[in-house]
């Protein structure tokens, strides 16, 4: 038997027991080599079975590595080797098989252990990879959630996190809220693409500023549309925050080059500077934003430092302003009436109706506390309308009480002069209440008629045509254009209370003559002149001497309920006998500003 025949038999036996990644020719070559080694071992003079061990290892190494491979190989050895090797001692064959089996088993064991180790390593590595991928995607998601996509700056979420991080320590920090002025106009007129570019440039400038800022740690965030926020930590002096705001605003004031054109841009900022443990983190940002609001209100292009007292006053005002619409619906606004008295004979000539707010919590509020707010919110129109009707209704009652009933003076907000429906509404109120027009005096502040435009003049003219009296209120405080005054259809001038009060101190000749001149101006224009704010008899006399026709003030009665006036109307004269009879007992109080 030749080696080739033996290898043929071996290969045949192994068919289907194993897959080896080499070609049949290579398999044959391998098994031929192994066969030769076994034959040499068996025929050696001095028998040593060790090469059999190596054959077993080699089989496994070349992937002849299934249990069946071993079984078939033993069978082939047992049946074929005695033919290949003549006069083979059975003990040698047995020893060779033992060696081969041992080598095969050892190699198989190692192979299994290696394989197991490799697959476990692979599993670990796969898990690491999966975890890393998860961490990466979490990090990506986190970045996405905490950063603004347009500018790449950290966003509001991140800012709140950072603030919470630093707020734990008792450190001095500052938050600066920056807002591009008139950004909406840029967006609306130039388009959102330009607006976005402006924001990107602004973000870059602030980012660079923060990097180069050495005296403290500065971080930049984009909180909202055009609102950027700087977080300054590690500052040593309170002035630090102001310096930073100055720097930021000056950087943003540099021209913005967008699409080959220069956009002049300014920004405003609000600064909140504090020791972290003293203020809630949420409060810090809110404070900076309030200060930003102040900066905007003060004319933009500047920064303001947050001041708690100013903020408290703002908040109180805001609450009052917010409560107004409901108060109007509930009829909490009422009128108080104050007499206008003829300074010569003490007769009751008119009554001014003053707005009051019967506030459920704060009691009766004078007009000065809320008229400004009502003007800001625009509610003043509805309020005026309501109060005008009430006043006219009241004045109409007085007509039936006296042969010389007083007129009623009603304040009109400046913006009313630009309201188209005003004249019609006044006419309608006069009709519905039955009050003769000459018994109504509409009072407009001097400020309202400064630089009066055509529409306002037109409104005044139409009101005058109705027969309604028109008076200038607080005259002498607003630098009236006297030339303009002559062209207006007026009936009365009300001299500001300051002129009467001035008389209480030591009036100089100049003061007196000044008042006399104002009165003369009024009389030249054929206007009734009314002195406001008269608190003492002495003042009343002086204003009378200066030529004033009527007087109004605490001396003649504080603003009170309609019933007080009713009595005076019936008597035909004011209650001068009240406080005036004992002037020394009368303590003047601040005159309510109408």
């Amino acid at each position: 038997m030749s080696v080739t025949t033996f290898v043929d038999a071996w290969l045949r036996a192994l068919r289907g027991t194993v897959y080896v990644p080499i070609t049949p020719a290579e398999q044959r070559e391998l098994l031929t080599g192994l066969t030769r080694r076994m034959a040499e071992t068996l025929t050696a003079d001095r028998f040593d079975a060790f090469p059999g061990y190596e054959v077993g290892v080699d089989l496994v190494k070349h992937e002849f590595a299934t249990p069946e491979t071993l079984g078939r190989t033993i069978t082939v050895m047992r049946t074929q080797l005695p033919t290949l090797v003549p006069s083979l001692a059975d003990s040698r064959l047995t020893e060779l098989i033992e060696a081969l089996t041992t080598g095969f088993a050892v190699a198989m064991n190692d192979r299994s252990l290696d394989g197991q180790e490799a697959v476990r390593m692979a599993a670990l590595s796969a898990r690491d990879r999966a975890e890393q991928a998860l961490r990466d995607s979490e990090a990506r998601f986190r970045h996405f959630a905490t950063h603004d996509q347009l500018t790449g700056l950290p966003n509001r979420t991140r800012f709140i996190e950072r603030l919470a991080e630093v707020a734990g320590d008792d450190v001095q920090l500052a938050v600066c809220s920056i807002d591009v002025d008139r950004f909406r106009t840029i967006n609306d007129s130039l388009g959102h693409d330009i607006g976005d570019q402006v924001l990107k440039i602004a973000a870059d400038r602030l980012r660079q500023m923060a990097v180069g800022y050495s005296s403290a740690s500065c971080e930049v965030f984009r909180l909202d549309r055009d609102e950027f926020t700087l977080l300054l930590t590690g500052i040593s002096t309170p002035e630090e925050a102001g310096k930073m705001a100055d720097l930021a605003l000056s950087l943003l004031a540099e021209p913005f080059l967008v699409d080959d054109s220069e956009l002049p841009i300014t920004a405003s900022a609000g600064v909140m500077e504090t020791i972290t443990t003293r203020v809630e983190p949420g409060e810090i940002l809110r404070s900076a934003e309030i200060a930003l609001h102040w900066a905007k209100a003060d004319g933009q292009g500047r920064w303001r430092l947050f001041e708690p007292t100013r903020s408290a006053a703002d908040a109180a005002k805001y609450r009052l302003s917010a409560a107004m619409p409901a108060a109007l619906r509930r009829g909490e606004f009422t009128l108080a009436f104050q007499p206008l008295v003829n300074l010569t004979d003490g007769r009751l000539a008119g009554v001014e109706a003053l707005a009051r707010w019967n506030h459920p919590a704060r009691g009766i509020l004078a007009a000065g506390k809320f008229i400004g707010l009502a003007e800001d919110t625009g509610l003043v129109v509805a309020m005026d309308d309501y109060l005008l009707e009430q006043a006219c209704r009241q004045a109409e009652r007085w007509i039936h009480m006296s042969s010389e009933p007083p007129y009623v003076g009603v304040n009109l907000a400046a913006r009313q002069l630009h309201r188209t429906g005003l004249v019609g509404y006044v006419a309608q109120v006069l009709t519905s209440t039955g009050l003769p027009p000459e018994n109504l005096q509409l009072e407009i502040t001097e400020h309202a008629v400064i630089g009066t435009d055509e529409q306002a003049v037109d409104t005044l003219t139409q009101l005058a045509r109705l027969g309604v009296r028109i008076a200038i209120d607080d005259f002498g405080t607003g630098y009236s254009n006297l030339a303009c005054l002559g062209g207006l259809p007026l009936h009365a001038l009300k001299l500001d209370g300051a002129f009467a009060r001035n008389e209480t101190s030591r009036p100089t000749t100049v003061d007196r003559e000044f008042v006399a001149t104002l009165v003369k101006v009024g009389h030249t224009l054929d206007l009734q002149v009314i002195a406001e704010g008269i608190e003492t008899l002495r003042q009343a006399r002086r204003m009378r001497d200066a030529g004033c026709d009527l007087g109004q003030g605490w001396l003649f009665g504080a603003a009170g309920p309609a019933e007080d006036i009713d009595r005076q109307v019936q008597q035909g004269r004011s209650c001068l006998l009240g406080p005036a009879a004992r002037p020394e007992a009368y303590r003047p109080e601040p005159y309510p500003v109408a």
């Binding site: 290969l11 045949r12 068919r15 289907g16 194993v18 897959y19 080896v20 990644p21 080499i22 070609t23 049949p24 992937e63 590595a65 299934t66 192979r111 299994s112 252990l113 290696d114 394989g115 197991q116 490799a118 697959v119 390593m121 692979a122 599993a123 670990l124 590595s125 796969a126 990879r129 999966a130």
Partner: protein
């Protein structure tokens, strides 16, 4: 599936759960180890055929645990410059491939679903390793029958074909129930409990994967009948449940 396959081939790169599944399939489908061996042998014959045709780049989709006769070893023995990308859906198989490839410059492995052609073809490792202006050998050995119709395996094969230049080849083996249907269905049932449930297809359906290719002689045949190299033709043709074929993009 990759690790059970390794077990059928006599490998030890598998876990107890893989061996349990592998044994269940073995009892449902006697001879599955022979089939696995036959598949692997065919792949090597086909690989050598492609190397003879001058193909030096290989995209091995569903490469599994490449312990026995790695494509890159076979290819690089012929030409050390040969490039191979292994793709598998199983992260452990991929991690294992990476271990093996640690010292092999021409071979890389990525984890992806082969049906996600967009992802595979645009993966930076793939585009860096393979030159799509040169012929590529696309290997899909014993894998398409675990891509259900709902994942559009035919579309995927088409998209790979469109990405390759003429002279590229596709190598496919695919499980079928054209014979031994009951046993194959039992095996399929078992696979439905795994992450890669099987979809058996007929000879006609499998030929569909070669659309746009010229089938190399002898066409789509039982896996042992494709250019057998004696004494490699294992098993009787009536026992076989896998078709094999090689196509060339004209």
């Amino acid at each position: 599936m990759a690790r059970s396959y390794d077990y059928w081939l006599g490998g030890s790169h598998n876990f107890a759960v893989d061996r349990e599944y592998a044994r269940q399939v073995m009892s449902a489908l006697p001879g599955v180890r022979l089939i696995a061996q036959a598949n692997r042998s065919f792949m090597h014959r086909a690989l050598r055929y492609l190397l003879d045709q001058g193909v030096r780049q290989f995209l091995d989709l569903g490469s599994g645990i490449p312990t026995l006769g790695n494509v890159h070893e076979v290819a690089q023995r012929v030409d050390p410059e040969s490039k191979v990308v292994y793709v598998d859906i199983d992260p452990i198989a991929v991690a294992h491939s990476r271990q093996i490839l640690a010292d092999s410059p021409g071979g890389v492995a990525i984890q992806a679903d082969l049906a996600d052609t967009e992802r595979v073809l645009n993966d930076p490792l793939v585009t860096e390793t393979l030159d799509f202006s040169q012929p590529i050998g696309l290997l899909m050995v014993s894998v398409l029958h675990v891509v259900p119709d709902s994942n559009d395996p035919f579309g995927a094969v088409e998209r790979y074909r469109d990405a390759m230049v003429p002279g590229s080849h596709v190598v496919i083996t695919h499980g079928t129930d054209d014979q031994r249907a009951d046993e194959m269905h039992a095996a399929r049932e078992l696979s439905h409990k795994t992450a890669t449930p099987g979809s058996l297809r007929s000879h006609g359906e499998i030929e569909g994967f070669f659309s746009g290719y010229e089938l190399i002689d002898p066409g789509l045949v039982w896996v042992t009948q494709w250019r057998p190299e004696p004494p490699d033709e294992l098993g009787h043709p009536t026992e076989l449940t896998f078709y094999a074929g090689v196509g060339r993009k004209p």
